[in-house]
């Protein structure tokens, strides 16, 4: 039904543009007064978190493997992109901000994807607990490396990164990233990856090249984590290796699990809410991780698939339901 698909794409596009306009309405007109910049900062961090959490969900939710080292991929993206843009500025190349931004995210993504490839190949022989430990080890190696390299500040804060991240661009990049990931998991490749999650022996027996799909998903996931890292470093303009530690990785994993492994909607909402929450609850900062961990245990006991399970939000479906005229019974065909 290409006609219907076209219509759905169009509806989604309208929805995305509407959200964008709402954001512009809030931030550009400055109706929040003095708090505009503060709220905008929260929104930017939330959007960056959405990208990295969705990328982690590719691995955890769709491939059924853990990465407890996603902060490591993020730091690769953050540092490599910062190194390139700073070198460009030092060389006296002046470009419009948007080009810097595009170069930063592409460089961050590619470097991170490359590292993901290097980690992904050996990790193929491993599954489950062992793979999780290998990703922890990898993230620690990256952290130690960045503490030692001169180009990354040698353990001190790397500052002076050009501030080119702007919420307009970040929003567009986030939409593109999430759309790509969504298309990936709904494609032929994504179905193969889900088959591997369900039973990798049966998948291999049905002619799926398990190795190939695993590495590809790993690389893709690392790519998007790198993009998020590039956004992060070009928004904060100063980064330190210890930020990307084991705690950060487990925080991302928490967001994936709470939102629902296997649901990008869950990841988006989980990431946006949990990234914005600490700001709203500044006074309870110390209790935040305590609360996360309790909620995590409760979710694992009562609803292991997370809040949204594998449910996905669909704007066309909602519109159909709201303005549902002569609609067939049961919208489950879309699921």
């Amino acid at each position: 039904m290409p006609e219907k698909m076209k219509k759905n794409y169009f509806i989604n596009l309208i929805g995305i543009i509407l959200v964008f306009l709402v954001m512009m309405g809030i931030f550009d007109t400055g109706i929040l007064g003095a708090k505009t910049n503060y709220i905008m900062g929260i929104a930017i961090i939330a959007m960056m978190t959405v990208i990295i959490v969705c990328s982690l969900n590719l691995l955890t939710g769709y491939m059924g493997e853990f990465s407890l080292g996603h902060a490591g991929f993020m730091s690769v993206g953050a540092y490599s992109s910062a190194a390139v843009t700073m070198a460009m500025i030092n060389a006296g190349i002046t470009l419009p901000t948007v080009l810097y931004f595009i170069i930063a995210i592409i460089v961050g993504g590619i470097f991170s994807a490359f590292v993901g490839f290097i980690v992904g190949i050996p990790a193929l022989r491993l599954r489950g607990d062992y793979l999780a430990i290998v990703t922890v080890a990898f993230a620690e190696i990256v952290r130690v490396a960045f503490t030692n390299f001169q180009i990354t500040g040698g353990g001190k804060t790397l500052s002076g990164i050009p501030k080119v991240s702007d919420y307009h661009y970040i929003y567009i990049v986030m939409v593109i990233c999430v759309a790509l990931m969504y298309m990936y998991v709904r494609s032929r490749f994504g179905r193969a990856v889900i088959a591997i999650r369900e039973d990798y022996i049966a998948a291999a027996a049905s002619g799926i090249n398990v190795t190939y799909y695993k590495v590809m998903t790993f690389v893709l996931s690392a790519f998007f984590a790198g993009v998020a890292g590039a956004i992060y470093s070009h928004y904060l303009t100063a980064i330190i290796p210890t930020f990307f530690n084991f705690m950060k990785s487990s925080e991302f994993l928490t967001m994936v699990i709470l939102g629902g492994s296997g649901s990008l909607t869950g990841s988006i909402i989980g990431a946006a809410v949990l990234a914005a929450l600490p700001e709203a609850l500044r006074d309870f900062q110390i209790y935040r991780m305590l609360m996360y961990s309790v909620v995590l245990v409760i979710i694992m006991i009562f609803k292991p698939s997370g809040i949204f399970g594998t449910w996905e939000f669909s704007l066309p479906r909602v519109l159909n339901r709201v303005f549902g005229k002569n609609q067939k019974k049961g919208g489950a065909a879309h699921e």
Partner: protein, 295 residues
């Protein structure tokens, strides 16, 4: 030469701590196939217990190291509670749920400690007031010898316990076949609880050894120690008690030697690379048995 011997001594001391922590990992992993991330935080719990009880012990006129008894009791209580409250309900839900629950419990303990004890590091009073020997320019604190002998003694005792006693045999039977063990009258839940109790008790002893060398406790002190001890357990062969000891000593020695001779800034990275290489070349570890996968 004296530098080399000094490094070996320091490495053995470090390795004994890793080995004792690795024993806790290996026992729990051996029985329920789960990485107990919270194990590293049991060490933190033990250290804080030591910090608070040593002054009391000294005040009561008893030797400081006796507070390890209190630490063991607290750690066992925490370990058994964690198992009963969080791990038992998810035991049959698959490895993914178990891993996340373990991670969540680790976060919980760390942040609970942060709330209770604050973020400032606490410095533990001296535990062993023993002299330091100087032989041919080598500094040999006697407490290192004590640490090492405690480690060896613990390992031997545990090894004999698991090999010879009825309870130990039951502990080895459960991971082989849960249903069959139930059939022959082994109370599986009780065995798992016992394993957790022993593992957590070992963590308290490890805390004593750790604090006698590095008398500082922070809420996240367990994280890196735990990961390295897990590496040690994997290196030696997970599920194997002599393997954990061997792996711990190897990791400790390697770390100190690399720190002294090769690259001081990189020693952690090298430890982690060892883990990756071992997992690739011989996933079962040095002393572990290779188990094929059933289709």
């Amino acid at each position: 030469m004296s530098l080399f011997i000094q490094s070996i001594i320091n490495g053995l001391n470090q390795g004994a701590v890793y080995a004792l922590v690795a024993l806790g990992y290996t026992m729990v992993y051996g029985i329920i196939r789960m990485i107990n991330f919270a194990h590293s935080d049991f060490i933190m719990v033990g250290s804080y217990t030591l910090f608070y009880t040593i002054p009391l012990m000294v005040g009561a006129g008893m030797p400081a190291w006796l507070s390890v008894v209190v630490a063991v009791a607290v750690c066992v209580a925490v370990g058994v509670t964690v198992e009963a409250v969080a791990y038992k309900p998810v035991r049959n839900a698959g490895s993914m749920s178990a891993l996340i629950t373990a991670l969540a419990m680790s976060l919980f303990l760390e942040n609970l400690a942060l709330v209770l004890f604050g973020a400032n590091p606490k410095s533990v009073p001296e535990i062993f007031s023993l002299p330091t020997l100087k032989v041919l320019g080598i500094i040999l604190p006697v407490k290192y010898l004590v640490t090492l002998s405690i480690g060896l003694f613990m390992m031997l005792a545990l090894h004999i316990f698991v090999k010879k006693t009825t309870l130990g045999k039951a502990m080895r039977a459960v991971p082989e076949d849960k249903e069959a063990s139930t059939l022959v009258g082994i109370h599986v839940n009780k065995i798992i609880t016992t394993t957790f109790a022993i593992g957590s008790g070992l963590a308290a002893v490890a805390a004593l050894m750790y604090c006698s060398t590095y008398p500082r406790c922070t809420t996240d002190m367990g994280t890196m120690l735990g990961i390295k001890a897990f590496i040690a357990a994997v290196l030696g062969g997970i599920g194997s008690i002599p393997g954990a000891m061997l792996g711990g000593i190897l990791v400790g020695l390697l770390e100190i030697l690399i720190k002294v001779y090769l690259a001081p800034g990189w020693y952690e990275a090298i430890t982690y690379s060892i883990l990756i290489v071992v997992l690739l070349v011989r996933p079962a570890g040095i002393l572990g048995k290779n188990v094929g996968e059933k289709v």
